[in-house]
């Protein structure tokens, strides 16, 4: 071990522990004179800070559902996925005790609705929630109802605006399925297709298409459903009593980890995913010339979910409020949020090069090289964006 290696070890130890006074003094003196070791020491402290900032966001809802199901039922263990059927069957009980904010907010909209303990159907995914006092499919003179049975409920958020709710249960030796297909625009969500198994041993789909349950975004549809499904002449009907249904297009996915809440994410320029490119919604918007605080307000007004990153000394940290400094870059996050990078005015880091045009970080809409770019003084948000 070289002398420098010994000091690296001491510097590393000093991050988490109090050194022996002699070692501490020895390290201090060495770092005063050895640039290389001082850089390593600083870098290791920066590493420790970066590790503290790693955040994957909350655990998925399925984990909580599983824990709640076990707590309420007892005697069960295993993987959440293996027990998904079981857990979803116990969501009714979960609704009683979990008291989650989402369920509470959803159900609180029923001013005189049924008591929580009386709700036999409560299906919840990350993007769709359905509660009802009864649900059954009438097919071939028989009644198929998932009430009281284990139900597998999944959603497929296929795009920002199009998602599904698929429920599957076993009844009388037959598999039953109910699928709802949702669409959304900037103001509303609705169901555009419903399909269900027809209750036969070798099931066929019974389906209907149309515009059902159209409701403003962030509000549930409420009512009774008696809907005939086309099954090639067979009589198949979907019945739902006191249904409350809500779709949250990208609502869950668009919530940035550690970031800030904004409105629903708007569709990104479908051609190249770059909202700042020509044709993109924020092309020539002036966002890059604003202060982070002004840009934040402007982007929220435009309906974006915004997640801030403060980049200093090569380290990007998630910020819960708009940082200081200047905006130097932006990107669309994996959850559809707009990730905006800010840095100290005198230390704008280089933009990483990418290999794919679609993977390119979003640059300021200007022709000059970024290395020469410096932000102009912040302008009025309203003037720049033409907002009233």
């Amino acid at each position: 071990m070289t002398e420098h290696r010994r000091y690296a070890d001491l510097a590393a130890m000093a991050i988490d522990f109090t050194l022996d006074p002699i070692d501490a003094e020895d390290l201090r003196r060495h770092l005063e004179t050895c640039t290389a070791c001082r850089r390593v020491s600083d870098a290791m402290r920066a590493d420790a800070a970066a590790l503290r900032s790693i955040d994957f966001g909350p655990a998925p809802v399925i984990v909580r559902d599983h824990v709640a199901a076990v707590a309420l039922k007892g005697g069960v263990t295993g993987s959440p996925r293996l027990l998904l059927l079981f857990a979803t069957g116990l969501l009714l009980l979960l609704a009683i005790f979990a008291g989650s904010a989402a369920v509470g907010a959803f159900l609180s909209q029923q001013k005189s609705g049924p008591d929580l303990s009386e709700i036999p159907i409560h299906w919840q995914t990350e993007v769709v929630e359905l509660a009802a006092t009864d649900l059954w499919i009438e097919a071939n003179g028989q009644r198929f109802s998932p009430v009281g049975l284990p139900v597998s409920v999944v959603s497929d958020p296929r795009t920002a605006e199009s998602l599904t709710l698929a429920a599957t249960w076993q009844q009388g030796g037959r598999e039953m399925r109910l699928n709802l297909y949702f669409d959304a625009d900037k103001s509303s969500w609705w169901v555009h297709a419903i399909e269900a198994y027809d209750g036969t041993v070798k099931p066929n789909w019974a389906a209907t298409k149309g515009e059902y349950f159209k409701t403003p975004l962030n509000r549930p549809w409420a009512g009774n459903v008696n809907l005939p499904l086309d099954a090639g002449g067979q009589g198949v009907t979907l019945h739902v009593s006191n249904m409350q249904l809500i779709a949250r297009p990208r609502a869950n996915l668009a919530r940035p980890d550690g970031g800030l809440q904004g409105g629903p994410v708007k569709p990104i320029n479908p051609r190249n995913g770059n909202v700042f490119a020509r044709g993109g919604e924020l092309h020539c918007s002036g966002i890059f010339q604003m202060s982070p605080a002004d840009a934040h307000q402007a982007l929220l007004r435009l309906g974006y979910n915004v997640s801030w990153r403060w980049v200093k000394d090569g380290i990007s940290n998630i910020q819960t409020t708009p940082p200081g400094g200047v905006i130097y870059d932006a990107a669309i996050g994996m959850s559809g949020e707009l990730v905006v990078f800010a840095a100290p005015k005198d230390a704008i880091p280089p933009i990483p090069q990418s290999t794919s045009p679609t993977a390119r970080p979003l640059r300021p809409p200007r022709n000059q090289p970024l290395s020469r770019w410096r932000p102009k003084p912040a302008r009025s948000t309203e003037a720049t964006l033409g907002l009233s």
């Binding site: 991050i15 590493d47 970066a50 655990a59 263990t77 794919s356 970080p361």
Partner: protein
């Protein structure tokens, strides 16, 4: 290391059980999930381990008395579960992981954000021994040397050396030529 129990054979659930474990879940899940995700890297496995950890907390509560330091207990048990799962999955997981990565085209947005420093750290840490990773992440979540020692079943003196070595190794992986040997 505290003894953990499986939940097999637990008595029937009650609202008090649910309230206790869900309160703990709501208070600690985000931290714990981040800790486990950084250790195992696979979201599905992390979810299983987090769920299993809270199920074991439920077992402790029912067996009584419940842990006094719930947060430390959760991290300790989760770390243990990570190590156990890693042992079981060591070979199969390695190859499965490669297959999944090879057949999956990462979205463009994901590629952009992968350039963020946190991903770089997760990648760099993947090469460290499990106890090094665990100790670094426990320290990042604010645990003391004594608590880390308890979690990874080492003496406090050993943890001092281990932590120092882990930080130097991490730096070497981030900047291979920076730390002079």
């Amino acid at each position: 290391m505290a003894t953990t129990r499986t939940s097999v054979g637990l008595r029937a659930g009650s609202s008090a059980d649910a309230s206790y474990v869900l309160d703990a879940y709501d208070a600690h899940q985000r931290d714990l999930y981040g800790f486990v995700r950084a250790l195992v890297r696979e979201p599905e496995l992390a979810e299983d381990i987090v769920a299993d950890t809270f199920v074991r907390l439920l077992g402790e509560y029912r067996a009584g008395p419940p842990p006094i330091e719930v947060r430390a207990w959760l991290f300790r048990v989760a770390a243990n579960l990570v190590v156990n799962s890693a042992r079981r999955r060591a070979i199969a997981g390695r190859y499965l992981h490669r297959l999944v990565r090879g057949g999956h085209e990462e979205p463009a947005d994901a590629r952009i954000l992968r350039s963020e420093r946190s991903e770089e750290f997760i990648d760099a840490m993947a090469d460290l021994p499990a106890d090094h990773r665990t100790a670094l992440l426990l320290a990042a979540h604010g645990f003391s040397g004594r608590e880390i020692a308890l979690a990874i079943d080492r003496s406090e003196i050993a943890v001092r050396t281990l932590m120092s070595r882990a930080r130097v190794r991490l730096r070497e992986r981030l900047e291979p030529k920076e730390v002079e040997r």
